[in-house]
């Protein structure tokens, strides 16, 4: 399956993506993760203002059959969350990389992005599973 991971995205082992847009980082979960989960029915996200720590859980995503924690790919503060995904989780299902983004985060240190996988590495990792 071809997931089309955008070239400017960075990915964590646990399948979250992060992309720097202006001075904020947009966070979501990859199309591969969405495909694995199946029909997504519920997304739980932190309030605006919440401090995130790299590697710790910031919320969860539930499908009909599974529930997975999501882990922050970097440290920072939530400045916006995607209310449309909260209201209708289909938005995440249909377009995980764009309309289905989850959080905008003001990073403490944007260089943390460099520790994540680039799109190509992630793509080959996913292909191997």
């Amino acid at each position: 399956m071809d997931f089309n991971f955008p070239a400017n995205f960075r990915f964590a082992d646990s399948h979250e993506y992060a992309v720097l847009e202006d001075d904020c980082v947009r966070i979501g979960i990859s199309a591969f993760a969405v495909d694995q989960l199946g029909d997504i029915v519920f997304v739980d996200l932190p309030e605006v203002g919440t401090a995130l720590t790299r590697g710790s859980s910031f919320g969860s995503v539930e499908s009909v059959k599974a529930v997975e924690d999501m882990f922050s790919p970097l440290t920072g503060e939530v400045v916006e969350r995607n209310e449309s995904v909260l209201a209708s989780p289909e938005a995440l299902q249909n377009n995980p990389h764009e309309g289905g983004w989850l959080l905008r985060v003001k990073p403490n240190d944007a260089s943390q992005l460099n520790d994540l996988m680039d799109s190509e590495t992630y793509s080959s990792k996913v292909a191997a599973t």
Partner: protein
């Protein structure tokens, strides 16, 4: 000599229960053995079960030889007669009620209802799902809370679940206080204490008007009406609780709620209670359905199963279990609760009780009960008894000097009154209580009046008429004002003709053991014989109150002691408690016992519980409830517990190791040959071994957990010992322990049971679901040790036959010694996903078209089916199943070879309803015959799924768990 010969004659095969219970004739057994390459059954068993655990099993004197159905029934009947039938007006959560005959005969006693499994395969379970949806609607209407589940185990555990939910959602680090109304039922309080302690919750018991609120309080439990019968307006207390951020739970009486303002309107957060008095016999304490209702905000934290509405592939409304990600089988140690098997059959019965009576009938019953309560108060005043000034529902409590005399006179007239103080003897009584119920009549009331008059040496005088309007009977209490229960189902079935047709309409939608094999792995869907079930309807068992004086329950005591002895013998342990209401509760009890033992030895720091990744979800969920930290143990490629990993973790946590929880034979369906070694590793590091006995059907009569190294095990009487699944309960999960743990077996505040250092009760009633113990008693009695050994052996023979026949088509994932499986096998379907896009779900649904209930889907390994045929299936049925699976394999092959479309194929479109295949237009790539009659024999015997494939996501995104009132239906 002659006697011996005659004995042989009388126990000829046809009169033996064994040959009724076992599906394979001896000829068929020989055939299977030949196919598998064994000369006889013993030879086969010696190849399956590791030699170092195979047990010679000494004969057991008290578990006599097997006997016939009629002998066993006669035997049990005389035991039943040792229970003395008195009219119990004790109350305390258990009341006289009339199970309408139409419900008793067509639900409780109908295998099309009681042999069903939990409705995971929704398309073939629409009947009981609808009955449960009615139950949730009823609960929601009673409580005024929008989200209700499909039952919990009993009122006390439901209260504990409410406490746990409150604790987890309030999430304030220092909030550990849970305030409990002092008028709470005594058994509820004890269970709350048992469940609170391991979680670090502090239960404080006070009168609600003296509750000390601060921000360390996370929750409050009010009993309305109280155990004393008292009713009051809780609005103020609720306000104060909410002011400190605490959640309010009310334990309510559903009959009182018929008349009272729904607690949801008073803004309580959770309502729990027992539906026993809605037509479910007392049964010496159970089984009964508890309910749990809450606000929309907590639906994702709600314990237990919820039936929700969704749509099927054709857009028809269809029901299925909703929001399953809350449950232990998915969330494991993060689950909201360990509950799995609940009380579905009893919930169905109480929902039909409401269908039978309708809102008007229910109101009349409730009204009559308070009428008698008010009349009794008047009579007591007239006689000169002193009454405290309070408003009550059905109960009156009186403190008086002549209490002993009252109780003695009552006993003479055939009554049990409540002895005050609760738990004391008649000799020490300082008062009495009387709780009225549905069964009270004017005639009975006159007798009570006479007893009370006589005890105080007064003559009986007729009472003047009095005002029986609700408002005057319930001064100052908010009453129900709006019409309720307006849904059509509670109105259209008051005539028995309509009701019985409705019941049948529902039950024919469901696939149960009366339709065919239900080969669910880890569920043991064996025969539930009629002779085993008959005695549960006998009044001698069904009508006993759990708190009757001891000398009235001698029959039950005998039943309990027989079963404890037999089960201890069969498991190789020293002591057994029958108190846990389900396997999950047995696990919790067993782990608490281990915890208590460590504590007793001064090793409180031992709090690590090792659990293999293959374990059932209840294991980690129970461990967390018992205060343990769960550490996962990996499995090796053969599916065995990885002993290296076990050793590594045991060393790592040596000083903190509390227990290993292991399932045997493993959830992977094989007898691990190193189970003794695993036990030894754990013991060497100071831990105890907990054995999940869900798979005991492979062991009974062959090997005994207590003899190969386990310290504790639970059994599921609703699997191995023939209690029917009831569509998701009732069950019994006894816990068996080695001698050093006997002192810790669970106790009860109102009964003599448990060890001398007993852990607190884990169930409301001292002997849990006592009312269904006769089923397992009958089974054991009719089988005898020899028969049980035969049953386990045949269960494994059948499983291996299936594995053998299907292996060429679906690889058997794990095999044990000599390439054999235990009593179940896992079929690996993952390659079909890769090659044909076929999910295990598609195969499960397609089996419905072939007239089968699917095996266990994607557990314990995702993408697989786990098949457990049990000993009760015939060779014909085993072959029919294999033929269906093989035919499905060919359908998949057609997709793999591009002869069939990836989407438009009979698997992806399964199941096919009658309406789909008879529709005027048919535009699929395969024929109608292939859709509905893929094998010729289906023309003779066809089961039709009631709905097409159900859309789970739609239902979970839009949760609807109760039926809207009639007006809404009309609007649409």
């Amino acid at each position: 000599m002659l006697e011996n010969k005659l004995k042989g004659v009388s126990s000829s095969n046809s009169s033996k229960f064994l040959s009724r219970h076992i599906g394979l004739s001896s000829k068929d057994q020989d055939y299977l053995l030949k196919v598998l390459g064994y000369s006889d059954l013993q030879d086969f068993i010696a190849s399956v079960v590791p030699p170092d655990i195979l047990d010679p099993f000494p004969p057991m004197d008290s578990l006599l030889e097997e006997c016939s159905e009629s002998e066993a029934l006669e035997n049990l009947h005389s035991i039943g007669n040792e229970n003395l039938l008195r009219r119990s007006l004790i109350g305390l959560g258990y009341y006289g009620t009339e199970t309408p005959a139409v419900i008793q005969r067509n639900i409780l006693e109908d295998p099309a209802w009681y042999t069903a499994y939990t409705p995971y395969q929704a398309e073939i379970s629409q009947g009981r799902l609808e009955a449960l949806f009615n139950f949730q609607t009823l609960i929601s209407e009673l409580t005024g809370l929008p989200i209700a589940n499909a039952s919990l185990l009993d009122e006390a555990t439901a209260a504990a679940e409410a406490m746990a939910l409150s604790f987890s959602v309030v999430k304030k680090p220092h909030a550990t206080r849970f305030l409990v109304d002092e008028d709470v039922l005594p058994q509820t309080l004890s269970v709350l204490q048992t469940r609170a302690e391991p979680l670090g919750i502090c239960v404080e018991v006070e009168a609600p008007n003296t509750f000390q609120f601060d921000d360390e309080v996370f929750g409050v439990l009010l009993q309305l009406p109280g155990s004393s019968g008292k009713l009051w307006d809780p609005s103020n207390c609720i306000l104060k609780s909410h002011a400190v951020g605490a959640l309010v739970t009310t334990a309510i009486d559903p009959l009182a709620q018929v008349l009272l303002a729904p607690v949801g309107e008073l803004s309580v957060d959770i309502a729990i209670g027992s539906m026993q008095r809605f037509g479910v016999p007392m049964g010496f304490g159970g089984p009964h359905a508890a309910f749990f209702a809450t606000r929309e905000a907590f639906k994702r934290q709600m314990p237990g199963r919820i039936v929700g509405q969704s749509v099927d592939a054709e857009g028809n409304t269809a029901l299925r279990l909703a929001l399953q990600t809350r449950e232990q089988h998915i969330r494991r140690d993060k689950a909201t609760s360990n509950i799995c098997t609940a009380q579905v059959l009893l919930a169905v019965i109480s929902s039909f009780y409401a269908v039978y009576h309708g809102p008007h009938g229910l109101k009349q019953i409730a009204h009559r009960v308070i009428y008698f309560r008010a009349k009794l108060e008047q009579c007591l005043v007239q006689l000169g008894y002193k009454l405290s000034a309070k408003v009550c529902f059905d109960t009156v409590e009186v403190l008086c000097d002549n209490a002993t005399k009252v109780h003695k006179l009552a006993a003479l007239k055939g009554f049990n009154f409540r002895v005050l103080p609760i738990g004391s003897s008649v000799e020490d009584a300082t008062g009495f209580g009387i709780a009225f119920d549905e069964l009270t009549t004017e005639n009975e009331f006159d007798k009570i009046h006479e007893i009370l008059a006589k005890s105080i040496e007064q003559s009986y005088q007729k009472l003047p008429a009095f005002d029986s309007k609700l408002e005057s009977l319930f001064p100052g209490i908010p009453l129900r004002k709006k019409p309720w229960l307006q849904q059509g189902v509670f109105h259209g079935h008051q005539s028995e003709t309509e009701l019985i047709r409705y019941m049948k309409r529902l039950s024919t939608k469901d696939f149960t053991l009366v339709n065919g094999m239900i080969p669910l792995g880890s569920c043991t869907m064996k025969l539930n014989a009629s002779a085993e079930l008959l005695p549960i309807s006998w009044k001698q068992f069904s009508s006993l109150h759990p708190f009757v004086p001891q000398q009235q329950s001698l029959g039950y005591q005998k039943l309990v002691s027989d079963l404890e002895t037999w089960l201890a013998f069969l498991t190789g342990f020293a002591g057994v408690s029958l108190q846990p209401n389900a396997g999950s509760q047995g696990e919790f009890a067993g782990l608490l016992i281990i915890r208590a033992w460590h504590k007793y030895r001064g090793e409180m720091d031992r709090n690590v519980c090792l659990i293999p990744t293959s374990a059932h979800g209840t294991n980690p969920a129970s461990a967390v409830m018992a205060g343990f930290k769960v550490v996962a143990i990996q499995c090796d490629l053969e599916g065995n517990v990885d002993l290296n990993d076990l050793e590594k973790k045991a060393v790592e946590y040596s000083s903190r190791l509390a227990a290993l929880m292991i399932t045997y034979p493993s959830t992977h369906g094989v007898f691990e040959s190193k189970v003794r070694d695993a036990c030894e590793i754990v013991h060497n590091h100071g831990g105890q071994v907990y054995l999940d006995g869900a798979n005991l059907n492979a062991q009974v009569g062959l090997c005994r957990p207590g003899k190969y190294g386990a310290d504790v095990c639970h059994l599921n009487l609703h699997k191995t010992f023939c209690i029917p699944h009831g569509g998701g309960g009732p069950g019994i999960g006894p816990v068996a322990v080695a001698s050093h743990l006997c002192p810790f077996l669970p106790g009860h505040p109102l009964s003599h049971c448990g060890g001398n250092q007993a852990i607190g009760p884990v169930s409301a009633a001292p002997f849990g679901s006592a009312g269904i113990l006769p089923i397992s008693w009958m089974y054991l009695r009719m089988m005898g040790v020899e028969g049980l050994r035969q049953a386990s052996s045949i269960a494994m023979l059948s499983a291996n036959y299936i594995a053998h026949r299907l292996n060429p088509f679906y690889p058997v994932l794990f095999k044990g010694l000599n390439g054999l499986v235990g009593h179940e096998c896992i079929l690996d379907l993952r390659s079909m996903k890769r090659k044909a896009g076929i999910d295990v779900e598609d195969i499960a649904k397609r089996l419905m078209d072939y007239g089968f209930h699917a095996p266990t889907v994607s557990w314990p390994v995702a993408g697989t089916l786990m098949v457990e045929p049990t000993e009760s299936e015939s060779l014909g049925e085993l072959d029919r199943f294999c033929d269906a699976m093989i035919s499905i394999r060919q359908e998949i092959e057609a997709i793999e070879l591009n002869r069939s479309d990836l989407k438009d194929n009979p698997l992806k479109q399964a199941p096919h309803t009658l309406s789909t295949v008879t529709a005027d237009n048919w535009e699929r790539s395969y024929s109608r015959t292939q859709a509905a009659f893929p094998l010729p024999n289906l023309r003779q015997n066809k089961y039709w799924p009631a709905v097409s494939r159900i859309d789970n996501a739609f239902g979970d995104r839009n949760l609807v768990c109760s039926c809207a009132p009639l007006e809404d239906w009309l609007d649409n």
